[in-house]
Subunit: 437 residues, 4 copies
């Protein structure tokens, strides 16, 4: 997480201020629950809420105490006692530090997910708009980087839409996975605290109860969470790679928006580099990398060890902040992408009609040619075209072995671009539920 | 995937025989659908089914053809034509190789998932049985490898049960993700094939339709799948690590089953090494590693490149076969785990009662001691115990500053082990839905 | 490791036959050393060599014994006793299984490295030959996929040569790292065996002595080894990616060799897909992935646990066999690469001279224009070219603000392609030590 | 990189101030070289040095310019012109941004390596001191977490010393790999700049010349660098894991230093948790993870794309700062580790003499028992000991089948602990070059 690739709203989730505020809420809710159960005085709980809600927690003061006691939660509670007064001794009764820390981490991840879901929604909206805009913009489909058959630019974007819609569903599921609360004590047995406190706090914090914890919330939940972010990052990389390809000098079917004052290169003023999508490719690598330590965090020793903590202090912010930034950047790129339909058409026409070869092949077999014969006939007319010696349509019409099966008109019909787009509506309906925006 | 860590049923899913059988089914179903649409003769479709269903595909023959034509699907279709006769020319009409290959891969992953789900069910059954068996077997809970508070061995297993139940749900979801079928042609536009063929084949193969494909089924689905297997592997590692710890010479609370004829070490006959769970730790590393290339596979170029293929030829079998083996091995370890409750009790008693310190701390604060005072009082009596100079209970009773707050009986009550287990039923109900097996 | 991506010589290193032969050699050398030290009878050592050298170890028999005793080295020693007779009891005296297993693994890695080094030498030879062939073949250099300045195709290959020469040096170093032998007993103290036995066996097996082992050879050596293979794989990916780009329909500056009988696609006969380099991209992902578990293997518990073993049974063969295959495939691709200098020239001319813009910029500043002015002058003439409205040279000559600084001849001189190649010899000398092949 | 896990000296290497200072030095040296070659006026070069050396670069000002021109190097050069005046137009002549950026990154990595090498030296010194201190402190060696044979605590540390000495050599090599300079222009052809400028700057900056660059310095160098850091991190994890094991309640052979004011747990005052080494385990996971994106950075497109940049902005600081912190923390842990030789002895005696079983086994075979018989005899006496029914020595002496081969004195001799340490000096000499500190 570095400022260059960060957005303030997500960064704020990981600030000490936010963290201490969540700590306070958890502690205060727990105190209320304990008061409801008659374990601590009702007045004390009220006092905690009253004083704590009004207070601004002093991060530097807490840090100073932590340097002395070398324990972050004790430091916070000490500071809280400075604010609340003697009633503070009823706070944290029967709880263990991890009850606060783990539940807080999950609250942060849930909030981060809310932002990320909004990011994906924005991206989906941009993709949808551009997909409908270019629903029937002809472009060549490429497999292996080689021209294959015509598709439309809208279909490319529809694919991306469907992919990010899957990402959204995965993230909702991953968010649900980490939306748990544990207030279960030193080894998760509720020895010193009633399970009803956990239930109360969970509900108040918008979480569900962790069915069985062991001081810590089990880290398979978080492994799944960060793995999900890694998959989403991989989908970002896919779309970014597509755009980088389209912006290549020789292809130039689309370009990232290039602002007026922007200088592309200190030396080559004509250059417009797809630096945003290249950047996204790099950011995707990072978010993907963070999944590995999250998975290694699962196998904690016995009821817990604290090896996960340093990892999470890093990947918690790094992963969510970077993904938030990347999604927003991708949305902006899609939104403002400069599309060149004329270049798409030019590239489509580039190979002298060879993109229609499969259709010719099919027509031949439908008229009775064996697959092998049809293949041979298509191949022998395709090769000269490939070498720049003639166009495919003319050559086919002049090949007597071909015209045995197909009339000139039938051959020409194979070169009708519209033929390829007859099912675009079907696909758009599948993806967007409608054929119109 | 090596024989030593493989089970035949999973291996069979990845055999050439199985693969070609699935290819045949997809091709034959597609031919039937084409016949229903009037594109190819009904008789031809029947003939394909009749001859193909009866035939055994000759793997060596197909391989020989592939060496010549350097294309696996063409090789198969050529062999199929040898079996079916001239009607074979109606097979694969308007389809592209990836239609067959990608759908087949998904069928294999779906079947592999069925086996893995059965594996998890077996593991869950073993965990549940042992959890109830040891529901109230006292054992020390450890955080940081250090004695914390009492828990029960059943609770440890209940935690594992809850974790693998989550794994099961994740796998069901991951299976659903890859259970799609694409018969959409060279760039996914259905230019040469009716989308209804895809719908027909999907239904017959137990899959859903891929909403928008681009010659290939998008690889974010598979990235999510293999990431999910990686998370499951991490949970295996967690339980394996727990058992390895329990079998340590100094702990010896449980041991892997040791068969009569087995030799532990060529040189140290008394040694019983937790080799199965150590092995599982290694296997988990492998399954985890396979997730990375699966994620790198997502960003294929344009409508497809074939870089994913070599990866999937390896991780398809390697990941599922290894995880299948690991789950089965873990189930066997859990099922036959030799548990030593007497050693658990011995370890629990090892620290002269210090495990009850938190309870004493709490009792002191509840009687009005400040947190700081309580902490100090507990600490000054705990330290001699730690140094082996006395037992905690006696020291506390003799500390006048303690007895100002707590009577001897009240101090003794803090040492009641049962106190820690009062909510075991609550947790078991949460996890298993019942307090009894 | 699957047959499709394997070559027999590397596979043979990992066969049971090879493994048992190495086991035998280690055991027999150790017996000789023990005999030299007077610990076991000289005759026994001779008998072991005589019988063992003549014998073919029966893999199935050893496996059958292992299934019974569940210990691979004991199984082998039992079989060896069947071959050697009673003198076999002097074999393995004071040794532990890992002495044999770990040293064997290292012997296999050393041999695998020898093959890999030969692979790299072959690749270097092919790169060098093609680099000199195309030392001055003009081609456009691209940054961000956008045309930048002219380079030569030979320079591209020289870069690859330099990169793989670094890979070679790294592999030599990695091989040296794993070329160690440990015969040090159960915890590495030589309690039951003289260190001179280790020294003797090490020398005979072409290894150096592991200075301090702990039953096992420390796994940081292997982590470094597999990490090095991963880096080499990444360099393979780089060159493969370059070729994939060059073969794109719109670029088509080079193509993988396409054999006469080969069919590119079942449906699009004109297609020549860069499937070999795409395949290499995938294989690189796999070799890279194997580095992670190798690193996780380092932190074995205490003097050893066996979690590394399953990992190494997989990545030992998988990583070396895959890399061997990939290097050989890449060599073949480079060796037979079809290069299209005319297309390179065509692409170079594609942007109407804009690639010379930096030179114009420089010439302007050298004649006294401020950087900002020069930039503005270049930019305003470049933009029309970019939009297809004229060529750069003509526009510059017609721009009075430009001709204030540069004469028409001076402007033209900026468009001299040869200018860019004046230091090619310098670079070739740096890389190949010579300017001629 | 977060403050909690950072040390100021390493953080400073990655500050904007340091970065701009290195940029300045590279630009100024290049200007001097250009002046020496007569390309720019000597006075201009002197002015640049004079003004630039005296100036403090204004990070906020540069950032403000960058926000406008969206190019970091142009922003810096603009600011430099503000400081230097009109002579600044001679700066950066014929160079491209990457010449500055890539060379700077390498300078930072070289400096970071110097710090890391110093860290390793400190660690080695601590390990050596403690190794000699405990050269003959008896402790049980464990394989699989199970007692094996006696070793010494000094040998454990000697192993760690040898491992980190290897790490040092690897880091020196990795540092050498990235210590290169490129001043070669837009695609690395030196079209607009003389290679002698590169040579001059390289020498002045303490780097070697990159033999062939392509606008960028090839990223296989950096992949190797970060992979090396990842291996070092894995070795940190190994030693950290050893210490965590030793501090377990049941083992307690060593403890992390526990400062007077430190509170271990808010609730369990007797707990001394190995939080530092647990933390190191987590940090190792992070440094390991950073190697993956570094490897993915290798395959840049053509002569360069900028996808590596975001990755390196993160892992450059994150990886070196984290490793620096981890090495220093580990050194402190080793330096102040509280060792309990009495507990080591207690654990050694724990298994009633079973640790001597291999020696008995060997003695029996040396007296003529077959391996199988010896194994059986040892096993039948070991099993009762294992069950707590007697001690091994007594049982062996009372076993007539044993005493057929060995006299009571000979059996007793097998239980001599000193026997295991006779080669400690050999190993220390191998590792430290001496038997005394």
């Amino acid at each position: 997480m570095i400022p260059r690739y960060s957005r303030p709203e997500m960064v704020a989730i990981w600030s000490p201020e936010t963290k201490f505020r969540i700590w306070f809420e958890i502690e205060a809710h727990a105190t209320t629950a304990l008061a409801d159960l008659g374990v601590v005085p009702k007045d004390a709980a009220d006092k905690v809420w009253e004083k704590g809600s009004a207070a601004t927690f002093d991060v530097e003061r807490i840090d100073a105490i932590e340097r002395e006691v070398k324990h972050d939660v004790i430091a916070f509670l000490t500071h809280l006692a400075e604010i609340v007064g003697p009633e503070a001794r009823f706070v944290h009764q029967g709880m263990t530090s991890s009850d606060v820390l783990d539940t807080t981490f999950n609250v942060q991840l849930v909030r981060a997910s809310d932002l990320l879901l909004k990011d994906i929604d924005d991206l989906l909206a941009a993709l949808k708009r551009r997909a409908f805009e270019h629903k029937l913009t002809p472009t060549i489909g490429r497999s292996h980087g080689i021209h294959a058959e015509p598709t439309t630019f809208g279909l490319k974007l529809a694919q991306a839409y469907a992919e990010f819609e899957r990402c959204k569903l995965r993230l909702i599921e991953a968010q649900r996975e980490v939306a748990t609360c544990a207030i279960s004590g030193a080894v998760g047995t509720f020895a010193n605290i009633d399970p009803r406190v956990e239930e109360y706090v969970a509900e108040k914090m918008g979480l569900s109860v962790e069915p069985v914890s062991t001081q810590v919330i089990p880290r398979d939940r978080h492994a799944m969470y960060f793995a999900t972010l890694a998959v989403i990052a991989s989908s970002i990389e896919r779309l970014a790679t597509e755009i980088r390809h389209l912006q290549r000098s020789e292809v130039l079917e689309a370009e990232e928006y290039f602002s007026a004052g922007q200088k592309g290169s200190s030396a080559m003023p004509h250059k417009r580099n797809p630096v945003l999508t290249e950047n996204l490719t790099g950011l995707a690598r990072m978010v993907r990398a963070y999944a590995m330590p999250a998975m290694e965090n699962v196998a904690l020793w016995h009821e817990r060890d604290i090896s996960h903590s340093s990892v999470e202090r890093m990947i918690g912010p790094d992963s969510t902040v970077t993904l938030d930034f990347a999604l927003a950047r991708l949305t902006s790129v899609v939104d403002k992408l400069v599309v060149y339909p004329e270049n798409m058409q030019k590239n489509l026409d580039r190979l002298g009609g060879l993109v229609h070869s499969q259709r010719v092949l099919l027509a031949l077999t439908q008229r009775g040619a064996s697959r092998e014969d049809a293949y041979r006939l298509v191949q022998r007319n395709a090769m000269p075209v490939w070498r720049g010696e003639g166009d495919f349509l003319t050559l086919l019409k002049n090949d007597a072995d071909v015209t045995k099966y197909l009339s000139p008109a039938e051959i020409e019909a194979c070169f009708d671009l519209g033929y390829h787009y007859k099912h675009v509506d079907t696909i758009f309906t599948r993806v967007f539920g409608a054929t119109k925006a």
